[in-house]
């Protein structure tokens, strides 16, 4: 039973217990606080606790996240949701087990980093331990990375609507024919029928474009296209088609580097993985099959030249050091890598890294936030994807009957500037990228792009009762 709470004015949010106040826990907390949830964080280190206390409007409890007493004093019995993101898989699983035995926390989320995550997923769905969401951020990020490895012009590819809709991210190079074109002009140059320019990232700005917005060199754009028209779209945008990828360098033998290596070697790609620590190298070599593990500093110019960096299809900087990743991927471009991909976890670095000309940048931290938001928000939210510094979102949701946007032509809705409907999938299986005269019906799956600050307003426009009633 929820304990009787002192009647407070702000009582319409979820109470969420986050275990682990490291970088991931803090960024999840920050986002969830912004979405008006009550957050309690359990963290072991006293120093880190003091830091969190200063920067977050949350209750911080110092202690071991796998201790029943600590969890109880952190208010386990009142919590609606438990998010276990400590550095230890064991602690995360154990705390979910405690939550299951000692209270009726509605949603349990755990981050796991083990290779055996798929085996664990089957265990975690059972009677003994019922975890609603197991996140393996490294694997999910690795999947996104390997999708774009062979496409130098493309920075990101994501799938929506059960794979029927593709979202393509690309940089507008200085010499591209697209520079200076307005959305209206693009539309007249005969793009594939079902495509839409959804977002433009320019410097620190995010633009949800309208007809009169122009493209500029250095812009990073996202385009919605139906899955079967992706190649046409590439051709239209002047992006070279995917060739057979032969050689890839990965720097950093952390979890994510290994995940990417495993996925790439599955595709028959020749992978060299650089790791500086010998013991780590040995461990990696036991895990991978065809990948060559090199005990060397993969950010060192001499080493890279020796290992024939010239002409490699992609250079993936996946160490834990954001600055190092940015610098070394720039270096690789100069040494002749066709594509440079950097892992950058600090969100405030992202706009700058984009300006420097790194082909694509990934952050595994956002993946966790995205997965969790799907549970925190009310209504039939199918997925949430956050872009760059959490300024813009793609939300996939099922439209309810009733709300004010349903059954009207899109052009009559007067969507706020900063929001756009990317695709509509009908229950019949038909998928369209909508135009001004398209109509959203109840039951449609809608892919919506919008600035983060517009989220509450838009959710309520599509979903009945998204008014965050008490959970």
């Amino acid at each position: 039973m929820r304990q009787l709470n002192f009647p407070c004015i702000l009582h319409f949010s979820m109470r969420i217990l986050i275990l682990g106040g490291g970088a991931v826990g803090a960024s999840v907390a920050r986002r969830l606080i912004r979405e008006k949830n009550e957050i309690v964080i359990v963290e072991g280190s006293e120093e880190q606790c003091a830091q969190l206390e200063d920067t977050l409007d949350a209750k911080i409890v110092q202690g071991n996240a796998a201790s029943i007493r600590t969890l109880q004093s952190a208010g386990l019995s009142d919590a609606d949701m438990l998010i276990a993101v400590t550095n230890s898989d064991e602690t995360n699983l154990l705390s979910c087990l405690i939550a299951q035995a000692h209270s009726d926390v509605k949603i349990k989320v755990a981050r796991l980093r083990t290779h055996e995550v798929d085996l664990w997923r089957s265990v975690c769905g059972g009677q003994l331990l019922n975890i609603d969401l197991v996140i393996h951020p490294d694997r999910e990020t690795a999947e996104r990375i390997q999708r774009v490895v062979g496409l130098p012009g493309i920075s990101d590819i994501q799938e929506f609507a059960e794979g029927k809709v593709t979202l393509v991210g690309m940089n507008i190079a200085a010499g591209s024919w697209l520079v200076g074109k307005s959305m209206e002009e693009l539309k007249q140059s005969g793009p594939p029928s079902n495509t839409l320019m959804a977002m433009i990232f320019r410097g620190n700005q995010v633009i949800i474009p309208r007809g009169d917005d122009h493209l500029r060199a250095g812009d990073h754009v996202y385009i919605v296209a139906l899955a079967d028209q992706v190649s046409d779209t590439f051709r239209f945008m002047g992006v070279e088609e995917a060739e057979r990828v032969k050689r890839v360098f990965i720097v950093g033998g952390k979890q994510i580097g290994i995940e990417v290596a495993l996925q790439l070697e599955e595709r028959g790609i020749q992978v060299k993985l650089f790791e500086r620590e010998l013991s780590r190298c040995k461990k990696i070599s036991e895990l991978v099959k065809d990948t060559v593990v090199v005990h060397a500093d993969g950010t060192d110019q001499t080493t890279l030249v020796e290992e024939n960096i010239e002409g490699i299809d992609a250079y993936l900087a996946l160490t834990g050091d954001d600055e190092g990743n940015i610098i070394s991927s720039l270096l690789s471009k100069r040494l002749g890598a066709r594509k440079a991909i950097a892992l950058v976890n600090r969100l405030d670095f992202l706009p700058m890294a984009q300006l420097l000309g790194i082909n694509s940048i990934f952050s595994s931290r956002l993946v966790i936030v995205d997965r969790i938001l799907q549970f925190v928000r009310k209504g039939h939210i199918l997925s949430v994807t956050t872009f760059r510094q959490e300024e813009a979102e793609a939300i996939e949701l099922v439209a309810d009957a009733g709300p004010k946007f349903i059954g009207k032509k899109l052009k009559d809705l007067h969507l706020p500037r900063g929001a756009i409907v990317g695709s509509i999938s009908r229950p019949s299986g038909e998928v369209i990228v909508p135009r001004g005269d398209s109509v959203i019906e109840a039951g449609d799956r809608v892919l919506l792009f919008c600035l983060e600050r517009l989220v509450p307003e838009l959710e309520s426009a599509f979903i009945v009762g998204s008014g965050r009633e008490t959970a």
Binding site: F6, L10, K59
Partner: protein, 482 residues
């Protein structure tokens, strides 16, 4: 970097809130049938004008406050409240100078309760009400109220909360600062209502009951009578006030645990509360014994001793007897209790009982270390080990308190005040008690002190209310370094 527009806008909002309470007082004055409303109305216009100007002139978007900005916001707000709160007194003409009016006002907001009024009963009732209301506003905390109701303070709130609410380490009641602050204020209001009803039932009239409720719950000490509580000569009223002073001297977080969460064991098992009650009981017994041996009846001795010990220890400063006539030993005992103060997280001042308790334990550990040279032991409070950082900052705080106390005494004696009066006046100001000993005892007042001494004491009151660091830090050079 300090973003002044950000701070000044927030100060503006606080001043508008103060204007609101001034308007409320003015309305009550109408109801009380006061003859002259002009002091209050002038104050409303001045404060409203200043608050309105600040909020309109600095239209910066609401942002989080950095550490330094938070400290500045707190200090500026407190000074502004004291200065603007002094206006009704100043305009009324009952106070000789602005210094006197400011002293009375800051003494109110910091819940000190030291007065410069020779004849309290000569003051119009609307000003007496305002005097008590300043206590009540300052008791639970100006900033805390701001955090609870003003939406302009977001994440930076915790910093502010800590600067004003004693016992920074006391746990939050709710994950969000705003909710915690709201819960504390609600408890405060609930207790105040309870006390008001009790005092009315005991035969006090509405006006006196309201004023004394404000003074008691804030552990302030302003009364509407020259003779303080002694004037009512009612054991029932004394008993009620003793109970509510004791309540106000206990951590409101623990009140919440007991009354809202119904966890009695958390409340009565708390070592700070046990130590607090033990000190009250010990002090009462000692003083009662001494009094009984001299001129008092035993029962009467117990009654006045209990009232005075609770009043001094919770830093309220009411009096039910003139303790200046008691033996020097009892007076020194009361002076010692001034330093102890109430519990952390209460509205009381002083060093706080938990700190005293920890201090004893730290000293005990030092002795143990001298004997068992290789022994390692933790200092515990309520079963949990207290970190060395906390102990360090505790020792620093005590050191700073004594340093200020000493410096204040030096300043006062340099201005020609006698030693006993100086020591007691500084302690009574710093720990927000009110009446001291010597020529500032319960039957006297602070009017005769030199003007400069009044400013020194005003500074001590604010420094003590904000637990020293917040005020002193802005006088360091590193605070202003970019």
């Amino acid at each position: 970097m300090i973003r002044w527009p950000n701070i000044l806008r927030a100060v503006g909002f606080f001043i508008l809130a103060l204007t609101g309470s001034l308007i409320l007082t003015t309305l009550c004055a109408l109801f009380l049938g006061s003859s002259d409303l002009s002091p209050l109305i002038s104050a409303v216009i001045t404060a409203g004008g200043l608050g309105g100007f600040l909020t309109l002139a600095f239209r910066s978007p609401p942002r989080e406050f950095s550490h330094r900005e938070g400290i500045l916001l707190v200090v500026i707000t407190w000074v502004a409240f004291s200065a603007l709160g002094a206006l009704p007194f100043y305009f009324s003409g009952h106070f000789a100078s602005f210094t006197d009016a400011f002293f009375e006002s800051i003494s109110g907001f910091t819940t000190t309760g030291a007065t410069i009024l020779e004849d309290i009963e000569a003051l119009p009732r609307d000003l007496l009400l305002w005097r008590s209301l300043t206590h009540w506003i300052g008791g639970m905390g100006i900033i805390l109220l701001g955090i609870a109701v003003l939406p302009l303070i977001g994440t930076g709130g915790m910093e502010l909360y800590r600067s004003e609410f004693s016992g920074a380490k006391s746990e939050k009641l709710a994950p969000r600062v705003a909710e915690t602050a709201m819960a504390l204020w609600k408890l405060y209001v609930a207790f105040s209502l309870a006390e008001y009803i009790a005092l009315r039932l005991a035969g006090m009239d509405t006006f006196d009951a309201v004023c004394h409720t404000f003074s008691t719950m804030a552990t302030g000490g302003f009364s509407t009578r020259n003779a303080s509580i002694e004037a009512f000569a009612s054991p029932a009223i004394e008993a009620i006030i003793i109970v509510f002073m004791l309540i106000a001297g206990v951590s409101f977080t623990l009140h919440y645990r007991l009354l809202v969460e119904r966890r009695a064991r958390r409340f009565f098992g708390d070592q700070e509360i046990q130590f607090y009650l033990a000190l009250v009981a010990g002090g009462t017994l000692a003083i009662a014994a001494v009094l009984a041996l001299s001129s008092y009846e035993p029962l009467e001795a117990g009654r006045v001793a209990l009232f005075q010990v609770v009043s001094i220890m919770t830093t309220t400063g009411f009096s039910s007897a003139n303790f200046e006539l008691w033996s020097p030993f009892t007076q020194l005992l009361l002076l010692a209790l001034m330093f102890a103060g109430g519990c952390t997280g209460s509205t009381a001042g002083g060093l706080k009982v938990a700190r005293l308790f920890l201090l004893f334990r730290v000293v005990a550990r030092e002795f143990r270390r001298m004997v068992e040279r290789r022994g390692v032991s933790a200092v515990r409070l309520n079963g949990a080990a207290v970190s060395e950082n906390t102990i360090q900052s505790l020792l620093n705080l005590v050191y700073i308190a004594f340093l200020i106390n000493f410096a204040g005494c030096m300043a006062l004696t340099a201005l020609g005040v006698d030693v006993l009066t100086a020591i007691a006046a500084v302690a009574a100001s710093m720990f927000n008690i009110g009446p001291g000993l010597g020529s500032v005892g319960p039957a006297d007042n602070y009017a005769h002190l030199p003007a400069l001494a009044k400013w020194v004491l005003s500074f001590c009151m604010l420094a003590g209310r904000l637990e020293f660091y917040t005020v002193l830090i802005i006088f360091t050079r590193s605070f202003w370094r970019k």
